[in-house]
């Protein structure tokens, strides 16, 4: 029986600026990941696997590639008569600019929230790679009788977002303190939050009336007013907040444990199909320790890399420690190391630098 009383809200443009060139023409949610996915697939699949059948995706700018990716939501089972997926374009009143913070963004979709009947809302960012069990999360939220539950991860706080919070809990898991300082050992936010729908509407209205900009600051400065709990995510997670963390999150998939956790067969991550042939390995191809998507043609050497759909490695080419997005081509005898190549990049000169080299979409180098 799947009758959901939960609504999903996904921010497609969360922290776009941190990925600089990669998100120059698309939103964070549309960023390619792991050979065949886009980052938003995690939020959408997590919600769908958690039985959530109504999801609103809040967009801000450059959301064309996101829209073509999401379509009618079929891959995530979100093509529904009741509920289903809705892309919520940026809302701007005649006198206002497009929203600046989350508070304004949610204020812009108040109508959608008010029209919805679901009791609970799960609000997610799309810059986190993690397979989160939403059913467990909702159960926890209920068992604690929480007003708000935030999903946290334990470890070194990612440094990309300067306003990222970490929390102090009491023994029961209730938030008793909030901290913005960097920390090597803390429980930081994955920006996945459970909250009552009506409470969310009330808070947004109150904070807007008070002239605030940041939603979370307002809430957490008053954390004594609400029952806020933390839910620790135990599995793999990676917040994408820089080119380096993006690169690392891709290469982390070369670990079997990470793959088994992220691509948990009981909670699969869904994405759009491109209907490519299986990957073809030619004579004298040499592939080791790599993630390789369908449609690739491997005639050269590939090591410690992630290749997206339709990548072509020509004869004698050597690709090591690279993330090559779909349609990228590496010419004969070219050697590359530490490269992130965006879609349809053509590489015909060797590249080997200590730092990561990022090559923009459609470029020839």
């Amino acid at each position: 029986m799947i009758i959901s009383n939960t609504l999903g809200i996904v921010f497609a443009n969360a922290h776009d600026a941190l990925l600089k060139d990669i998100t120059k023409t698309s939103s964070m949610g549309a960023v390619n990941y792991g050979g065949r996915y886009r980052l938003i697939d995690f939020a959408l699949s997590n919600l769908s696997n958690g039985g959530v059948s109504k999801v609103g995706v809040i967009t801000k700018a450059n959301y064309y590639s996101l829209m073509t990716h999401i379509g009618n939501g079929k891959p995530w089972d979100l093509d529904r008569k009741k509920g289903g997926i809705a892309i919520l374009p940026p809302y701007a009143s005649p006198e206002a600019q497009i929203y600046k913070g989350r508070l304004e963004a949610i204020h812009g979709i108040l109508e959608y929230l008010q029209e919805s009947k679901e009791e609970t809302v799960v609000v997610c960012d799309s810059d986190v790679v993690a397979n989160v069990d939403i059913r467990k999360l909702l159960k926890y939220h209920k068992s604690k009788n929480a007003d708000i539950t935030i999903v946290t991860a334990h470890g070194k706080k990612p440094t990309g977002q300067n306003d990222m919070m970490h929390y102090e809990f009491n023994a029961d898991g209730k938030v008793v303190g909030v901290n913005f300082e960097p920390s090597d050992d803390c429980d930081y936010s994955l920006d996945i939050t459970v909250i009552g729908r009506e409470m969310l509407i009330d808070i947004v209205n109150a904070e807007m009336a008070a002239g605030r900009v940041s939603l979370s600051h307002g809430v957490f400065e008053n954390h004594n007013k609400y029952n806020i709990y933390g839910y620790k995510h135990e599995g793999y997670c990676k917040v994408i907040d820089s080119i380096e963390s993006y690169f690392k999150a891709n290469l982390d998939l070369l670990s079997r444990d990470v793959r088994n956790d992220v691509f948990n067969r009981n909670n699969p991550i869904y994405t759009n199909s491109r209907d490519d042939m299986p990957a073809r390995y030619g004579i004298q191809s040499n592939a080791k320790n790599s993630i390789i998507a369908d449609g690739c043609i491997i005639e050269g050497t590939v090591k410690n890399s992630v290749l997206f759909r339709g990548v072509h490695i020509a004869k004698g080419a050597v690709v090591e420690n690279c993330v090559l997005m779909h349609g990228a081509e590496v010419a004969e005898k070219v050697k590359i190391n530490n490269v992130i190549a965006d879609c349809f990049v053509k590489i015909s000169n060797s590249i080997d630098k200590q730092e990561i080299t990022y090559i923009e979409k459609n470029q020839t180098v």
Binding site: M277, Q284, A287, K288, N289, S290
Partner: protein, 405 residues
């Protein structure tokens, strides 16, 4: 109901008995092919790419997996408000219940389905072949020549011609004779089992054939020769691209390995003519540190630590470190464990080949080449540690530890 110009009827009810254990539980069109496809993906994708959006699929033998796979037709863009795909099993009528007796009878029993769309033309297809074909071109020729029936033909080598239904025609393409598997073929034009009929003619001849006593209700044996004898205008449509029947173990194996042959034009992800298939949310393949892969196709969900050469691996196949797979097809979900060897074999779905088991033999290993053949392992079986399966064997039950079959 809105009028439709052409309705396609896909004959998918055959058992494909020559595929043995591979079609024990599934109909032939549902047999996996090429790493991520099933045979039926070819006619369905061809229909979608040719702009034919009303397709009746005639099922009879083991229809569960096939119907389940076709579902709403969404994978081929054939989920339509008007038309779309329809799975048509035999059904009970006031006059009684009949299985589909022959290819013509199967269509005859579904004349009411075609009638609903009131088409000009009916395209008859089968689910036995690997090919990419634009049916719209064939229908355009049929229209332009004002034919009653057009049959798609392909030039085959003379020495193979006696395996096919051969069509003899005049230089202008008018058919004057059919010869079923002739000993001394007069031409090398083989029928591909793809027909375009004018709907009114098809209805008339199917109805007459049904009433005829002693008819086997088959297109090739009964309906087409009768139409020719009664003076219908029957034309050939020449096709000269890749086309292969996959009715036997050898031809299925061949047609798969053809995907690895750079001289054969069979790009299945050509953006202008993609072959679509059902997908199921699997992660990309992982190739391990100890892997050694050449001349092979590998797809989503696979985990490779061993050696692959001239092989095709389907979804979710695991080849552990120290295992070898050569000149073989390994179908979805199968596991080849450490030290095992699979060569010149077809391993069906969800098989476990345990440590150091050996499946199949190369032709060079054989004393007498006539004893050689492709070894086939039926789905869900376990080949236990150290067991051996010799060339050409078709395995239908588990093989015990160190057993030789």
């Amino acid at each position: 109901m809105k009028k439709t110009e052409c309705v396609a009827m896909l004959l998918a009810g055959g058992q494909g008995s020559r595929l043995g254990v591979l079609t024990q539980k599934i109909a032939k069109p549902a047999v996996p092919y090429g790493g991520k496809y099933r045979i039926i993906d070819f006619p369905l994708s061809n229909c979608a790419n040719s702009g034919i959006t009303t397709v009746g699929i005639l099922t009879q033998y083991q229809p569960l997996e096939l119907s389940d796979y076709v579902a709403s037709g969404k994978f081929w863009d054939l989920d339509r408000q008007h038309g779309g795909v329809h799975v048509l099993p035999p059904y009970q009528q006031i006059s009684g219940a009949n299985w589909y007796k022959g290819t013509a009878n199967a269509i005859y029993q579904n004349l009411n389905f075609i009638e609903r769309y009131d088409p000009e033309y009916v395209l008859i297809l089968s689910g036995d072949h690997i090919y990419k074909m634009d049916y719209a071109k064939m229908i355009a020729q049929h229209k332009q020549q004002g034919a009653d029936c057009t049959i798609s033909v392909i030039d085959v080598p003379l020495e193979e011609a006696s395996r096919f239904g051969i069509i003899n025609c005049n230089p202008d393409g008018t058919i004057y004779e059919f010869e079923e598997k002739p000993k001394q073929p007069k031409s090398t034009l083989a029928s591909m089992g793809i027909y375009v009929f004018n709907w009114d003619k098809l209805k008339k001849y199917l109805t007459e054939d049904e009433a005829k006593e002693g008819s086997s209700n088959d297109f090739g044996k009964d309906v087409l020769p009768t139409m020719l004898a009664e003076g219908c205008k029957m034309m050939v449509y020449r096709f000269d691209d890749y086309w292969k029947d996959v009715g036997t173990i050898e031809s299925l194996w061949d047609a798969n390995l053809d995907l690895l042959n750079p001289k054969i034009n069979l790009n299945l992800s050509d953006p202008n003519w993609k072959i679509y298939s059902g997908t199921q949310g699997l992660p990309p393949q992982y190739v391990g540190d100890s892997a050694d892969i050449e001349n092979s196709l590998v797809t989503v969900g696979c985990d490779i630590g061993g050696k692959l050469d001239f092989s095709i691996l389907f979804e979710n196949v695991t080849v552990e470190q120290g295992a070898t797979v050569e000149y073989s097809l390994v179908m979805p979900g199968s596991v080849i464990k450490k030290g095992a060897t699979v060569r010149y074999a077809i391993v069906a779905e969800n098989v476990v080949v345990e440590e150091n088991a050996v499946i199949g033999q190369s032709p060079e290993e054989m004393g007498n080449i006539d004893d050689w053949g492709i070894a086939v392992i039926g789905d869900g079986l376990t080949i236990k540690k150290g067991a051996r399966v010799t060339a050409g064997k078709m395995i239908t039950k588990n093989v015990e530890e160190d057993e030789i079959v």
